[in-house]
Structures are given as C-alpha cells and as structure tokens.
Amino acid sequence: MSVGTLLENWSEFRHFHPVDDKPHDPYKWAMSIDLDTCTGCNACSVACYAENNIPVVGKEKFQHGQQMHWMRIERYWSEDDREFPDQGAQFLPMMCQQCEAAPCETVCPVGATNHTADGLNSQIYNRCIGSRYCSANCPFKVRYFNWYDYPTVDNVWPAEMTRQLNPDVSVRGKGVMEKCTFCVQRLRAVEVTAKSEGRIVREGEVQTACQQACPSSAISFGNLVDPESRVHKQWAAQQVVLEADEQEKNKEHGTSELRGYRILEELRPYPSVMYLEQVRESAV
C-alpha cells in the first residue's frame, strides 16, 4: 500500500469514533467559540479551576511548565513588525479539542484515553500509567500531567480549601494525565436525567463551566447532531463539517466570507471545537 493510496482513501483507514453504523446517536458534544466577542478576560479559566478541582501549582512549578490550566487563554500579537499593536491583540481560549480522530488516543499503550459514544475524548485516570505519549502526540498541547501528588502538596488544598472540591470530579493523584473533559460530569448528569424521562438532552439544558461563566457569551456548547442546538446551527451556517479535513468553502480561494474554522484541521484530528475568526474594522 503506497502512501498515496493511504491518503486518498484516508477515511477508510482512519475511522471516526464510534465506528458502528449509528455514530453519534443521540449525542455528539461540540463547541464553538466566537473570537470576536471573546475579550480574553480569563473568567472561563478560573471557572474551570473551580469546577474541575484543578490544582494551583505555585510559581516555581509554573516556571517548570507544570501548570494545570485545562482552559488557557493564548494571546497573540500581529507579526508585521509594527511599532505598536494598534489593532489590539488576539485572544484564543484553548482547551482539549475533543478530536474525533484524536492523535492522543492511538498512542496510549494502555487504552487510558479513548472515545466515548457521545463524541468525547475521555481520560480514564485509574488506567493511566503516565507514559505521557498522549501529551507528546497532542498537536494542541492541552494535556496536563500530574508530576506531583497535589492533594498532599503544601498549600495546594490546605485545610478548609478541600471543602470546595467538587465531589462530582475526581481529584487526580501523581502520575496521571488529565485534560478538559467538556465538563463530562455535567453531561452525564443531564444525560441520565433525560434518559430517565425517556427523551434526549434539550438545547440549553447543560452548560460547560467555561461557557456558563463567559461574561461576553463567546462560547456555545451543545449537541451537534441536534438540529435545534445553537452549535449545530452555527456549524451549519459557517459550513464547517465535522468529518472534513478541508472545508468545501475554502477549497476555491483558501478562505471565505464565513468566519468558522478549526485549528490545525489539516492534521486530520477532526476537532470538535469550531472557532469564529476575530474581526477588525477596516474603516478606522
């Protein structure tokens, strides 16, 4: 088999998850983030710490690159060597993109990270042996490793602070990898409720912690296969197709008047997060 054949018939070789005849039934959780309304304020990131029991590692460990922020704001400047950034900065909330063909999944020697039926890239903490291959293979660098046993590290959760920990989320010990889960604990709770009522989760019934906090409502989250969901409508309006590695709208000119895009789409991880490009006024 030549590389050419492999690339030509990529979809046959590199399957989506799940691979049975009814993928994403009834759920495919997905997100869209409008970079034109995102102000870079970091509220999402702090909300994520609060919801997901993320340890504060302190200055020294942060310097060593051991920070655990599942949700981070990247800040970029334009690169045309102007003296002042006179059109502002670009902010980009970055977290696990919950790829449909996740590069992290295939390299895990113990199957600790794999795909769920509702389209999440899951991380099974008590299966993880800490090889960190997944992090090495992640193009977005959104996986965070527990170099320390944070529950026992001084001043991470001293005394009363332990009482703030969210009982719905595991506190991770040393040697395991962790990352954004799309607030799976919230998803499972509403999925169970919906199931017990014989329906599927309705649009607006569940929010991720970052989405709920976001002061400018830049984040939408929902069920991509539910035609009623805002996320579905946004993806459709932006002509961003989950299973494409190059969007039709871009094929002719390399770009379009629609702002929706996925980061590093060309690597074919098929991310579940669509971003909407920042806009700047041309008249001023």
Partner: protein, 735 residues
Amino acid sequence: MIDSSFDRRDFLKVMGWGGAAVALSGCGNTSIEDGKETVVSYVEAADYVIPGVSVYYNSTCAQCDAGCNINGRVREGRVLKLEGNAASGINRGKMCGLGQAGVQHHYNPDRVREPLLRNGDRGEAIAWDKAYALIAEKLNGVSGDEVAFLSGGVSGHLKVLLGNYLESLGSKNHFVYEAVSPAVVRAANKKAYGNEMPRFSINKAKVVLSFGADFLGSWVSPVHFSQQYAQFRKGVNGQRGVLVQVESKMTLTGANADRWLVVRPGTEGVLALGIINALGASGVALSGDAAAASQGYDKARVTSETGVSAEHLDKLVALLKERTPSLVLAGSAAEGYAHGSQNAAAINLLNQVLGNVGKTIEAPAVLPFPQMAPAKGSSLALKSLNEGLAAGKYKVLFTYGANPVFTAPGSMKFKDSMGKAAFKVAFAHYLDETALQADLVLPLDSALEDWGTQVPEYLADGAQINIQQPLMEKLHPETRGMGDVLLALIKQRQADAYKGFEDYYSYLRSALLQNKGALGGGGSDDDTFWDATLTSGIIKLAGAAGTLSASSAAGLKLPEAAAADAQFPMHLIPSVTANLRDGRHANQPWLQESPDPLTTIVWDSWVEIHPKKAAQMGIVEGDIVEVASKTGTIKAQAYLFPGIHPDAVSIPLGRGHEAMGRYAKGFGVNPFQILDAVYDQETGELAMHETRVKISKVGQRVIVVKDEGVIGGKQDGRRIALSKTTDQVKLSEEI
C-alpha cells in the same frame, strides 16, 4: 446486561430522593461538619440535606462593588461553586474570574479566626465580650470628633447601621475610601450630565471611543459591560460596533479595540478637543462652549502633542461623524492626572457634540431609598483622614473593608499617621497590612456566611436592592458578621432603641418587612414576601426615572503640557488588572495563578516597557530594573511590552503584600509605595498617573514566569488565531 431503562444510576437517584421533603431556606445548614471524624449514616438527616444532591441559593457577589447577582451551589452543607444568577439584569448569569474566586475568600486558610488584642508584637486571642467591653472602655471619655471610621464603599442596611452607630458616638468622621475608584470621572459626569454615573449603553452605540476606560476588565461594572459589548460586536443588521481605545498603556479593553491609539500620557483631553475641533471643521454644529474650548486644537497641534497620526485622527473623525449614535467614555487613565478633571470634561464634551447624551448616555434609575444608596469611595477621603491622624486629631480609629497601609501612596506615610491614634480597631478577614497596625482585630464572616443588602453604584437594570445571604454555616465559630458587630456596638450606646433586634438578621428582616409595600411585596404576607425575596436574591424597585441635565462646559481649558523632568523622565502608569484590582483579593490563589491577559505573567509583578525603549537602555526580558520616583524605589522584572508609550512604564497594582497570607505575602512589589503626592486640581483626588520615575538596571536577571511560550505572542506561520477585516466577512448572515 439488565435493561438499561432502569440502571444503577437511576436506582441510586431514586433512593436518594425517596421521601425527602425539600425545604429551602437560606440559613442554618447546621452540623454537617460536626462529627466528621466518624462516619455515621444519616439516621436523622436534616431535611434540606440530601446526600449527593446540590441545592442552589441566590446571593450577591462581594468581590467588588458592581453587585453581580450570584447563585451558589451547595452540597452536603458546603458551598462548592458560584455562578451568575440568570435572572439578574446586571450580570445575566455571567461571572468574572474575580467573582469565581469568592469561594477561595471563604475557604481561605489565612482568615482571621478569633478576636486578637495587641500585646507587643503579637496578637492574643480574646473573647468577643471582652473585645466589645474594651471598645466601650476606649470610647469612654472620647468625644465624637475624636473618633474616625474608615471604610470601603458601603451600601444598604450596613451603611444605615454604620451611620446610626457613628451618630450615637456623635461622630461625623466617616471616611469612605477606595484606592481605585472613578472619583474624578464621577465629578465630571455630575457636571456634564447631572449624574455621577449615568447609564452607558454600549450595546446601542455604533462606535465606542474609550479614553482609558477598561470597561471589559476592571471599570465600574465589567461583567455587565461585557454582555453589552457582545451585543455591540454583533451589531444591528450586520453593522458591527467599532471600538477605538485611547490610552498610554494597553488595557484588556484596549487589546480588544479595532484601533488602539497610543497617546502621550496625559494628553487624552487634547485629543478629545482636537476631535471636537475637527468635527466642527467638517460641518458638525458646535455649541459656543464647545467651539471656545476646542479653539486652537487644530490637527497639527493635536498630532504633535498627542502623538496620534493625522491619518488616524481623520479616520476617527469621519467614523464618528458617519456612524451615530456613538459613545465616548472617560476612564481611569484619563482622570489620573493633575488636570484629570479637565481631561474628563473635554471627553464628556465630545459626547455632547456628538449628540450622544440621551441616546447612549441615559439617566440612571433613582433608588427610592436614598439612605441605602452606596457611599462611594474616593482617595480624597484617605487624604483628609491622614491629615487628621497626622495632626493627632483622632484617638480611636476603626477600619473596615479597606487596607490603607497597603494602598495609600507612599508619599502619604499613612502607617506613621495611623500610629498616632491611641486605639485602632480593624474589622478584618485577613491579617493584612492595616490589621497588623491595629490594637484590636475583629474577625469577620466571609461574604458567603453573612447576611446583608447591597446596592450597586451602577444601576445597570433599574433600581434594585441585592440580597446577600449565607450559603453555608460558618466555617469558624468565632467570626462575626459586620452587621452583627455594628449592632452589638450600637447597643452599647442605645440599648433601648435596638433591643428588639436579636441579631443583624432580625434587623434586616424587620427593616425590609416594614417597607414591604414599597419593595413590591404589597399583597403578600410577611413570610411569603421574605421567602420570595431570599429565593430571588434581588428586590426590583419601581424607581422613578432620573433626568439628565446637560450643562455648559464654559471655561474648559486644558493646562499647558508639563515640562519634562530631567531627573525623572518616565511616566509611571500603575495599572489596575481585572483580577487583582487594589490587592484586597491577592490571597486567593486562583487569581495569582490566572495569567495576566496581556503579559501572561503569574505570581509576580513586572515592569512593562516598550521594546524600543528597552533596546535603547539595553534592557531585555527578565532584567531586574529599579523604578525610582521622588517618593521611593521598587525593583521588579522587566517585561518587553509593545502596548505602552515609550515614555512610560507600567507596573500592575495589587501585588507586593508584606502580610495578608501565604498566597499574597512576598509575591511581587507594591507600586502604591512609590506614588507621589500629586492631586487632581479640581477634586483633590490622588492623580494616580502623575508619578514620574527613572529606571535603571540593577544587574540581575530572572526567568519571567509566564504562560506564553518562548516565541512570545507569535504564531510562527501556523494558522491558530485568525482574524479578518469587516470588508472580508458577511456578519449579517450569521446566526
């Protein structure tokens, strides 16, 4: 596998809910933490506690004065997370990072837990009744004029009670102090619009021109403004709102601007008058005042004084003329000078010229209970307190909700002045710098343990009173609510008048029930009204609409630019960041580890310097530089930052604590310490941006601890964060 229609999870859930009567009440989640050493099943479960099921209570965020309504998640008697209250017209279910960290204030390991009495350098724990007796003893024989009470901004019933207490002491010395407040802008707004804080409708404006107002980060009501901003960006019929920010150091709002115009520090007013002049020249009718004030501010002069290019000025004027209504905001960068009032007046005049008053600047609602309206803090109050203390005028000093030893400008030498009061009482959450100078420290409940009412200064959605209620039982038995402490103190003076109130809760309840009719509870009985009030956490009031009164700007004149100071050639811009503000929350570790949005630095202070200037001075990132003013010197790491005027350096406020707790003490430096005593000439407020400094390398270098990677803010050719211009997109077709 069993039929999944009734799986284990459902089963457990059914068991959990079985037979439980859920009674929601805001108080008394008792005894969950009692006996935690032994595992006992809930033989007699408290009926509002269902293991594994969360309950939610509405309350009010106390991390700043914006008065966002919050909804706390409580499980097994512990508050776990705060969300915005979706029914709130202020924050509409949203919350900032600072607000999220409120739980870390509550659970903070460094909170003061019992009353402490000074014994030499140490504080010794004493009982509350002894502490109260001591206060009575110290007040004995002291006249009301010799008592001073310093507080941060207060509102609602606490303000009423505090006023009554001071009255009972015969004291008129209530100093309301906020280190970071829009006090000069308030005064300028009062003149220009007849209101200190009118309602700004960013969402109705097609262009927002902000002179240093960081309304997305730390200015007035940032969560509310962020919501408006999102609507403004979406615009009407695909006509996206345009944001132009004018400032000398980029704020978070500046980083989101379509055009960020860097001006020479202090020339904001010049640019505003220049725009008025140019609008007049392009045919916009100017009033006599506006024409007189802007006379002589032609393009050549304005571009040379401000540093804004003629091209950008022309484009901005054309845009403002073409797209109406617009909105012009005067913020903290514009007001922080000796001529801050004139700057703000010139900026407000621009709103009148553009016809924005009444369109995007609207009258605020009037609170029907003026006695509950917020007492607004300013730095002028601290100045007069300091003068009184230095003159030995006050024998007893109370401090609450402010940390003046940390936030007073170094030139004021507040710590020395404070030492002259014979007896100092600090009502405190932490042993901060001010509490350490006190003789008696009284520990307060956290905002999540206490009762209260709050009225925000900025009434975003009409008149309302916010309810603060305990989300859980007290963590520490010996802390008290501020209202309870005041009530106990006032009973020392007027026992009979207050004997009917067992505690602050009963005071609050009876005060609100007395006015039930006016508070919208006319037809309902007391308990129904009270339960409804606690459930919603907001009392909406049918306040009368206020009025705007446009007034004349006659006599507006900007001073000549100050001569350069050869010894101190650089401007110091002490920046206010969204998370740390004036430093009162620096001991909340989420805020310390949350990267600064613009520099991505964590856990430390930094000196922002323009790369061009840094290259001239041979400074690279991480060099420790000494920043010296007439008042003092601090040293911090340099960070090369393109969003700053080359003649200025900027250091963020809020860090550099010498006390307060494990997450605050020893991290960074405190620029308040080197602020010179320069005041706005009209209002007397501290001119925060007037301090001139010189900088020099000290010969050390550190690695800057920050979130951005080694190539800084570059994408290195990868398509990560993308951007388009308005002529490349069709926003009208979006949903």
